[in-house]
Structures are given as structure tokens and as C-alpha cells.
Amino acid sequence: MSDPEIAARGTARSDADRTDRAWMDRLAGGDLGALDLLYEQYGAMAFSIAYRITGDRSAAEDVVQDAFLGAWRNAGRYAGARGSVRTWLLSIVHHRAIDAIRRRRPTVELPDSETILPDTLTLPDAWGDVELRLDREAVQVALTRISHVQREAIELAYFGGLTQTEIAERTGVPLGTVKGRLRLGLQGMRAALLPLDGGRGGGGG
């Protein structure tokens, strides 16, 4: 699978913004060709994420279908969200996959099923271009630069959909320790990834 964002590393972000915006405009206008292209580009990655989270091919298929149809129906709302189409779409996949596994665990408060966009997309606009875009190898390397317990906490949260309290119970450490591991893990990954990203993810710095 080719990823135009990786291929286009080094090109101006504003170009990518314009391309993405045009893409979303076509989707919002009911252009099935744009949806076809979106699936060709990100379908396999979406499925990989959904499968990693749900651990079930059939559930992963449902998640990906829901996410692409959600994107298809709500492309008009993309204009208000910053970040690339890739992040926008894959965030929807992540959100729905977590939703799906939390429904299997009735003790957890369920996300509002009417919420289509994940939280990170409804944040204030100031964060537009701080997104890091890197390939899988770089991410794997970054994950080895943080401690094992930090990596475990991040994976249980992000791919396991566990709450902080649940992570504390699972790993047998106090809640405060879990919070610290998540924070230090994210900061450590960022520090490892920034040089690889040519400083573009530096948030203006």
C-alpha cells in the first residue's frame, strides 16, 4: 500500500491540505470515485488498526465499513477539523474499534453512539500542523526508545481501550503511576520521532 503522505514527505503541508480538502469536497458532494480512492489508499491500514484492536476479522470488517460510511456521510464536517484526511479517517476507525470492544465489556461507560468524530478532532484549531507523519519502521523504533512499562501502558490504552483504572488493575500499579507512564511514554516517543520528521512536527519550534 502506498501512503501519499509518506511519499510526499518534504513537500509543503499546505499542498497536502489543499489536496485533502478537495478530496473531502468530492466525498461531501457524493462522489463515489472519491470514496473508492479513499478505500484504495487507506482501507488496508484501517483494517489493520481495526483488527489489532478487536482481534476479530469479522468485527474489524464491520468497524471499517462503519468508519468509511461515517466518513462518506460526514465528509462535510471535515472542513472544521484540522489534520490530514488520513488522521481524520483513521481516528474514526480507532474510535469505532474501541467502541466495539468496550461494548463487549459492559462495566465500562459506553461512548455516545451518536458521537461520530473522535475527541481529538473537535479540539481547538490551534493544533493543525503538529501532526507527525512517519512510517511503521520509525514508529517501531520510537516504541523501543521508551521503557517496556511505558510501552505496555500506551498499548493497553490505545489498542486495548482500557481506562487508566483498568490499566492500573491489570498491571498492578497505582493509578498515578499509570498516568505517569502514559505521559512519559508519549513524550519519549515524540522525542524519538521528532528528529526523523525533520522537525516539521515541532509545533512551530
Partner: protein
Amino acid sequence: MAEHTFAGMTCSEVADQAPAFVLGILTPAESDAVRRHLAECPELHAEMAELNSVVPVLFAAAEPVAPPASLKDRIMAAASADLAARREAAAAAPAAQPSPPAAPPRAADTQRPAWDLGALFRRPVWAGLAAVALVAALALGAWNVQLRDQVAGLEAYRTGVVRVLDEAAKPGAQLAVLAGPTAAGPTGLAAVAADGSVAIVMRDLAPTTGTQVYEAWLIAGKQAPVPIGGFAVGGSGSAAFVTAHASLGDGVVVALTLEPKEGAKAPTMPIIALGAAHAQAS
């Protein structure tokens, strides 16, 4: 940093929850409070942005797993249906535009007691609500027209499937799963009873026109295909029928072709769907 309280959270509390927030593992109520705090409090944005920047990168940490080829077909089909429904609703909506309601009487012009609830229903807001309901009803009507055939077809198909499976469960019977050359093509089931009679149920067949019929064939070994009966298909795309025929023995293949008219002696290619009949393990 100055400490503020917005949405019932102090800045320190929001900062404390920041990693869980960007990882999407707070409860809806918690993340809503964080979001509302952030909307009022720019001081935390830089730190939140820093943590958030790592999150999209985690997508790439998932081991690549190839989706089934059928997934794209499912998504495109669902989007096409969605688009068709949207267009039908859009076409139906303008017809529902009500004429502008008469100007409401001003409160000062009419002497009504405050407890006159009936007044609520005489105001134009009611007319507006009625118009909304009408638009919704028409949009649903458009859906219904489109869905009616599909639902009828699905019900007929389900009834047919139950019947075929009942036949296949009888002693000496065999079951064949019928499918076309492409995943999107027609599919169905056939039960070949011990006495040779065949019960078939199909769906997603293109409707027949004029004298066209779908003809079912039994093929045993290297013998010529034997026609066992034809049927026409309407808009639902589903069909179920039972046909009698002397038994051809085990290992028979059931095939379906589209013929220009009834009574074909040899199948017209291509074969629309076929499947080999096997005895079911009891």
C-alpha cells in the same frame, strides 16, 4: 501557570488527564469536560498538542493485515444505496415545502390567558413542525418505495431458504450452495431430495424480461445437462421453486442459466450460478 476552573476542572486536573484524553480512553463525560475546559483555556494547548502529535503516529504501529476483497464491495454498495436514498429524499423534499404560514397574531393583539395551552398549537411553530414531519414522512416514503421490493425479496428468500434446508435435512437428500463466478453475483441453495425432486432458492438475480426464464439444470458426471424447470424473476431478484425429476444419483451439480425462452434443451452460456450437491453430515 495561573490556575483556572472551567467545566468543573482545574488546569492541573486537565493536565493530569491529558495523556488519557489524547489516547481516547476517558469516559465521554470526562473527555467532554476536558474539551470544554480547553475551549476556554489556551494555556494548556501547547502541552496537549505535544502529546496529541504522537497519537496519529501510533496508527502505523499496527501490524499490517490485508482486508478481504469483499469488504470494498460491501462499502461501495452501502455508499451507493446511501447516495440513492439521499437523492430520492432530496427529490421528494421540495414537494413538501409548505406555503408560508400566515403572520402570527401579536401577543398584545389577542387577550389570552397565560394558561391557554391551546394557543401554543395555533401558532405558526405548529405549522413549521407539521412541515418538518411531512418532509420526514416523504423522505421515509422514498425509502419505503425503494425498500419494499428488497424487503419482499428478502422475506421470500428467507422462506425459500427454510424450505430448502428442510428438504436437505431429509434422509438421502443433498445440499448444493449455488454461486456465480463473481462475489457480487447471484447466490442461492438447492436441495436434491432422494426421489430426485429439487428445491431451489436464489437471490440477487437480474429481473427477467419478455419471454426470458432462468433454467435450472442437473449435471451428473459427464452426461449432458438435464433441464429441470424454468422460472421468471421480478424486481426483488429472488426466486424459490420446487421441481420434480427422477434421481440422477449422488454427486450431481446444480446449475442455472438465463434462457431466451422456456423449454431450452441445452444450456445457453454463461452459467449464472452453480454448485455441487453433497449429502449433509447428520
